[in-house]
Structures are given as C-alpha cells and as structure tokens.
Amino acid sequence: MKEKPATVFVVDDDEAVRTSLRLLLKSVGLPVETFASAQEFLDQFDPNRAGCLVLDIRMPGMSGLELQQQLNDRHSIMPIVFITGHGDVPMAVEAMQAGAVDFIQKPFRDQDLIDRINRALEKDREMRAALRERDEIRRRMSQLTPREREVLELVTQGKANKVIAGDLNVSQRTVEIHRARVMEKMGANSLAHLVRMVIEANREG
C-alpha cells in the first residue's frame, strides 16, 4: 500500500476559519484535510498517517486540549500546532507541556503559520524516520542467538573480550567470534555505532 503524503489536519469549529485555512494551505501546496470537531477527527484518526495537526484550542464539546490528551493516550506522535485566541496563553502553556510543538495566536501572518506547520511536518518526518530506524534495530536484535545477546549486552557495557570470556566461562576466541557475528547481524560499523543502536532500541515507545 502506497503511503499517503504528509497531510495538514485542521480542526476548527468555525467554518470560516476552517475554510480559509484550507485555501491558505492549499495555496502553498500543502495537502489539507479539515474537521469541524475534535470527535470528527478522532473518528478517522490513523496513527500511521504522516502529517501534523492544526488545532483550535477552544471548541465546544471536546476542546483542543482534550483531543491532545486523547492522542497522547493513543501514543500518537503527530505534532500539534495550536491556534489560540487572546488570553489563551495559560492554555497554550498547558498544551506545550503536554507535548505540542508550537502555538500561534489568531489572527496570524500566513508565513508564521506555514513556518510552524513546516517545522511540525519536519518533526513528523524525523520522528517517523527515527521510529523506522528503531524498528529495524529491534528486528535485527531479534535475529541474535541467546549467546550473541549476552555478548552484546556485555560488549555495550564496555567490557573487554578477556573479561567477557571469564564471565561466560568460554575462551576469548569464542567471544571474538560471537562479537564479530553481532557486529555483522546488527550492521554496526563500530563499537560506538553498536552502543547507539542498543540505546535507541531500549527507548520507550
């Protein structure tokens, strides 16, 4: 299945604002999908779709902040740019603490919004790339034998081959063979590279 291009999802209860945003983003060549309520967006939410969320912080029914909470609960990584009004700074701060990438006050200069959206899309891209890399590392790790995993563990703790041989009660030569296989299976070109991959694999999420 061909992956859809990164999309800007706009959620705003005010039709005029919603429609104008759609046209504005379209004019700079960004794919846009608009939703009149948080619930409407949630109903079709697909965590695998790339893009970012432009979210009105105040809405009747489910507010922007509540939607952010729901997405966090679903481990969504989609970056959120909040649109706020005057006097909504406390809510914006709350949104930032909950992981939003940015916020912008209405009315705004188009370039400011587009810059924020582009940054968000960039972040989404990076996040998705990082996720893909971690998945690859985890896949490679899963191909190691139990003995190889033990050796990987001890190597990344910075132990010398001789020490590892002692710990595992095998010959130093055997350790060297296992170590070479681990490096090969993991696709690591240096010890430092291998350590970075292990840290990445152990990251939450």
């Binding site: 005010d14 005029a16 604002v17 429609t19 104008s20 945003l21 046209l23 504005l24 379209k26 004019s27 700079v28 060549g29 105040r58 009747p60 507010s63 009004g85 005057h86 006097g87 209405k106 009315p107 705004f108 200069r109 188009d110």
Partner: protein, 642 residues
C-alpha cells in the same frame, strides 16, 4: 300758764306781750307748735294751720302725735318721757328732717327744730316746722341727675378718671374701678401716681401732669402706658387726656379716658408674630400663597410669591392674564391657562407643575395647587399656593442622570466581563479574512495551484466575514453607547436572538452551552430592549460564573421564555451550579454586595431597578435537580393577549 288766745280773738283781754307773740307767730313762715310736757298742743300758729290743714281749735289740747305718722306717733310719748326723766337731748337744739302728717292723712317732709322752754316747770317745748317738700324735691332731682351722670360714666366701656391738681383721684367710673381692681370708695381720694402707676413710670408721668397743671405744656391727646392694678398686675392703657379749668381758666385737674388695650396689644403682637412666622415659614419652604377674588380678579400675594417670581412686592399682585403673560414660561403657558380656566369655570382643583420666567430671565420650576373657596362674606375666590421646586427638580434630574450613568457603567462592566468572549468572536472573522487575503496573494503568485472557484470563494468570504465582524461591533456599540432610556414594542424571540450574539461567545469560551427554550406565541412587551438585554446578560454572566465555580458535569444554562399568569412574559436563566445560599439570598440586590472577587455588586441591584421601571420584577428559585433559576417578568402589552 294759760292757753294762748284763739286767733281772731286777740283783742279780748290780751296783754301786749301776748299780742306781740301772736303777731310773730302768725307772721312766721315756719309753723310754730308749742306743746306741754305731756305732748299736748298748746299753741298752733297760722302757718301751722296752713301746713297741716287743721285749725288751731281742732288740735289745741290734743297730743302732738296727730301731726306725725307711725311709727313716730307711737314712739313720741316715750321720747318725751325719757327726756323729761333723764334730761337727755336727742333732738332739742339740733333740728332734723322728719316726716309729718296732714289732717287729710298725707305725709310730707319737714325740718323740725325743737326748743325747750326751760324756765317753766314742767317744761314746754316749741317746735318750728318748715315744709321742705320743695327742697327735698330739688335735692332729689339733683341726686338723680348726678346718678344719671354716674350711670353714663359707668356705661362707658372706657375708664374715666379725673385727677385734681394735687394728683388726687376725684372721680373714677365703674370701668376704671374694674380695670384697676379697686372699689370706687377706696380709689377716690388716693394719689393717682403713687397708687396706680408702676414705679419706673411714676416720676415721668407725674412730671408730665405737673406741666399740664402749671399750664407749661398741653397734654398729649393720646398716650399709652402701663398702669398697676391693686393686685400688682400691669395693664396697658391707651389714654386720651383733657384738662379741666375753672371759670377763670385755671387748670384744676385733668380728665382722662383710658382704654385697656392689654389684650388687644397681646392679640396684635400674637398676630404680628404669627404673620412673621408664616412669612419665615414661607421663605424657608419657598412656598407662597395667593388669593384671587372673583369675578373682579383682585388678587393678594404673600411676600414669598414675589420672592419666588422675582417681582416687586410694591407692584402688588397682577391679574391672571398678565401673570400668565409675564411670569409663566411660554412652553407651559397654554397648559396652565387651560388648567386655570377649568378651575374658575368648573371648580376643578388646580394641581400643576410648570416653569416660571423671572425678570432676570432665569427659569425656575414651581408646583401650584389652588381651589375655589368662599371668603368670610361668602364671596367666591381662588385660594392657592405656589411652591418653588427647582431644587427638587434639579435633584431629581441629577438622580436620574446618576442612575443612567450607573446603569451605563454596569452595562460596560457586564460587557467587560464578556469581553474575552467577544474578542474571540471578532477574532474569528478577522482570522478568516486574513487567511483568505493571504491565500489570494499566494494564488496570484502561483496561479497553477488554484482550482476554479477558489478566488471567487476567497473574495466573497472576505466580504462576508468583514460584515460578520462589523455586525458584532455594531451590536456591541449599540449596547454600550451612552443613551437615554427608550421604550419600544419588542418581540421577545428577537430580543433573545440578539442577546445570544453576546452571550454565546462568552459561554463557549467557558465551555458552557446555552440552551434556548421559547414557547411559541409569546406576548409582546413594551420595554427598553438594551436595558432588558443588559439584565439578561447580567443573569447569564452570573450563571456562567456559578457554573464555573461549581463545575457540574452538565455545563449547561437554560434560557427559557414563557407566558405566565396574567399574560406576562417570564424570562428565566437556569444554571446547574451550587444554587443561592440563604445568606446570599438575603443580601441579593443590595448595592455593592458581591460574591465575586472582581464584581461591582451592582448587577442585580441595577437589574432590579430596571425591571421596577418596567413594571416587572426579578426573583429566583432553585433549579429542579440543583442550581439556581433567576427569572424576571415583564407585563404584556395591552391587546397582545391572543
């Protein structure tokens, strides 16, 4: 001693002495009667015969008592005996008036003098009797004359007082005695100055009288001064004086008439005081009074009338027509003249407020009340008052303006609380406009991106959103601008629709839903729509605060309009907050009482006064299931009942 010879028988053997005696007796004008020690008549003169109607022959030898009436007749013998036995003299040598009796029995007054012929033993007595009937009559006439004069004096309702040159009271009438408190007999003969004048006046008044008596000054025709009564009381007397002169023209005394004007003076003083009091009271109250006699139109104005109208009191009171022309403000003139006509023609009481124009061109407000009445003589007249109420008018106007400013202030204050919501509301179209405009710029720069209709949509939406923002601002302006209260016929549904433009953004901002429930066929009401919206906004604002504070699961406010008993319109705002505590309910509507940290405490107080001015009322009740319902009623317009 032998009997005296008979009259007419004188020649026969009488001695010369006897003849001479006879001649004396007969010539004497007074009657001569001689009696013996037993009272028997011995000699009876001719004059006696004439006087008593007896001839000598008839009475000689008879007891002299025939010449006197009872009781003297019975007592005479006793007197005579007593005198002879004791020698005591009662009448002898003195003479006195007694009553005598004629032969025909008639009585008459006589002067009797008795002499005793002492050389004889037993003694004889000579009685000389003169008829004093005429003298008596003259004296009696004189006495009567005097009594009449006294009666005249006594009749006079003034004191009449004569003082002689020594200052002694020689005459005073009954009224004088009454005033001074003395019996007449005690007063006559006293020194006037010492007895009847207060000490501090004595010297002066006496000195003045002295001048009269010495002829060095004529008495003042009229004088007033106090006198002292016997009881020590003072009385004010008005005196008229005249001097009495003898035949040579010398002053022998004064005659004065004195009138006791104590009461009169007291009454005049009391009247003067009460008039002064009335004048002062009118001046303080700025209240004048007037009378107008009909039909001639002569008028009386109190001083305060002139003071109010700024007219000259010496000019008197002008007739009504001139008053209307000169003093009544042209804008009120016709109305007042009409009311005045109804008063005088139909006796309809006058009760009007109008403006007056003073000569200095200043304008003042007056309240006049007048009615028809009859004076003491039954003549028809108008009586009325004119009250200067300018200060009250100004105060009322000031209160009205203050109230209006306060209402305005409260409206701004309510609007201030809703400002965030409204700012948001205006921000929406502005954001949309900005977005469309910027999108258009980009589309113009890169036409390839544009789809058909994009440009048209953007342009029409820019126009529409600008209008949307303008509409919100227009409503806001009409709501907060300084304005006078005005009443119009209002459709309740429309009023609430307009109101929601303000209320909804605020509610949305607070994540609260406002549910509007209106009955169909609502009555039409006459009201000031802005003021009623102000009340409603205030109630909704309060409901929003109550909702935020209590944080109920159901964040909803219900705005309900319905027709209640009597056809009135009821508008209620129901929240689901914590409700109104008894303590808060007690203070609800007291100015400056507030439960909010930033509240003015004026919202409910002003809402109440707005509704009172509309003939409606504001009240509250619990919302079923929790919360407060605050509601108000407005009377339906007559005829709006279907």
């Amino acid at each position: 001693m032998t009997d005296l010879p008979e009259p007419g028988a004188a020649a026969s053997g009488a001695s010369v002495a006897e003849l001479e005696l006879r001649a004396v007796l007969d010539a004497a004008v007074d009657a001569v009667v001689i009696i013996d020690a037993c009272g028997h008549i011995e000699t009876f003169s001719r004059a006696a015969e004439r006087l008593f109607g007896y001839s000598a022959a008839e009475v000689i030898g008879r007891n002299v008592t025939v010449l006197m009436p009872e009781p003297f007749r019975s007592q005479h013998d006793g007197y005579l005996r007593h005198h002879i036995d004791t020698g005591e003299r009662r009448i002898i040598g003195k003479g006195r008036e007694v009553v005598a009796q004629r032969r025909d029995g008639s009585l008459f007054p006589v002067f009797l003098s008795v002499g005793r012929i002492a050389s004889l033993d037993p003694p004889r007595f000579v009685g000389l009797i003169s008829d004093i009937t005429d003298r008596k009559r003259a004296v009696e006439a004189l006495r009567r004359e005097r009594d009449r004069a006294q009666a005249y004096l006594d009749l006079a309702e003034v004191m009449l007082l004569a003082i002689d040159a020594n200052g002694t009271i020689s005459l005073v009438n009954r009224k004088g005695c009454e005033i001074l408190g003395w019996p007449e007999d005690e007063l006559v003969g006293r020194n006037w100055f010492a007895s009847c004048l207060p000490p501090e006046l004595r010297a002066d008044v006496e000195g003045m009288f002295r001048h009269f008596f010495e002829g060095t000054a004529a008495p003042a025709q009229y004088a007033e001064h106090d006198v002292l009564t016997r009881g020590g009381e003072r009385k004010l007397i008005a005196w008229r004086n005249a001097v009495l002169r003898d035949e040579r023209g010398l002053v022998i005394g004064t005659l004065s008439s004195g009138e006791d004007i104590t009461e009169q003076r007291r009454a005049i003083e009391a009247l003067r005081k009460s008039e002064q009091l009335l004048r002062d009271a009118q001046s303080i109250a700025k209240l004048g009074n007037f009378e107008l006699r009909l039909p001639d139109g002569t008028a009386y104005w109190s001083m305060q009338m002139h003071a109010i109208l700024g007219t000259d009191p010496s000019g008197g009171a002008p007739p009504m027509a001139e008053y209307a022309e000169r003093c009544i403000h042209p804008g009120d003139r016709d109305r007042i003249v009409e009311a005045w006509t109804r008063l005088t023609a139909d006796e309809e009481p006058l009760d009007v407020e109008y403006r007056i124009l003073r000569p200095d061109a200043s304008v003042r407000h007056v309240h006049s009340i007048a009615r028809m009445a009859r004076d003491g003589e039954g003549r028809l007249q108008v009586v009325g008052t004119l009250h200067d109420i300018t200060d009250r008018k100004h105060a009322q106007e000031e209160i009205r303006q203050t109230q209006e400013r306060l209402t305005q202030f409260a409206r701004l204050s309510t609007m201030g609380e809703m400002a965030a919501g409204l700012a948001h509301e205006i921000n929406q179209p502005l954001t949309a406009i900005t977005n469309y405009a910027q999108a258009l710029q980009r589309l113009l720069a890169a036409p390839a991106v544009a789809e058909p209709g994009d440009v048209e949509l953007a342009l029409s939406q820019i126009a529409a959103q600008a209008l949307r923002a303008g509409e919100i601002i227009r409503r806001l302006r009409s709501f907060v601008k300084n304005r006078e209260a005005q009443t119009e016929v209002v459709d309740a549904a429309r009023l609430i629709g307009d109101l929601m433009a303000f209320a909804e953004p605020d509610a949305r901002l607070n994540d609260i839903r406002i549910r509007v429930e209106s009955e169909p066929d609502l009555p039409r009401v006459a009201c000031d729509p802005v003021q009623i919206q102000q009340v409603l906004l205030n109630l909704i604002r309060n409901a929003i605060d109550a909702t935020n504070e209590a944080g109920p699961a159901n964040r909803e406010i219900t705005l309900r309009t319905r027709r209640v008993e009597g056809g009135a319109l009821e508008v209620s705002v129901e929240d689901r907050g914590a409700g109104i505590s008894a303590e808060v309910a007690q203070n609800l509507g007291n100015p400056f009482f507030t439960t909010k940290s930033a509240g003015t405490g004026l919202g409910i107080a002003i809402s109440r006064s707005i509704l009172r001015a509309h003939g409606g009322r504001l009240a509250h009740r619990p919302t079923p299931g929790g919360g407060a319902t605050v509601f108000f009623t407005l009377p339906a317009m007559p005829g709006s009942d279907k």
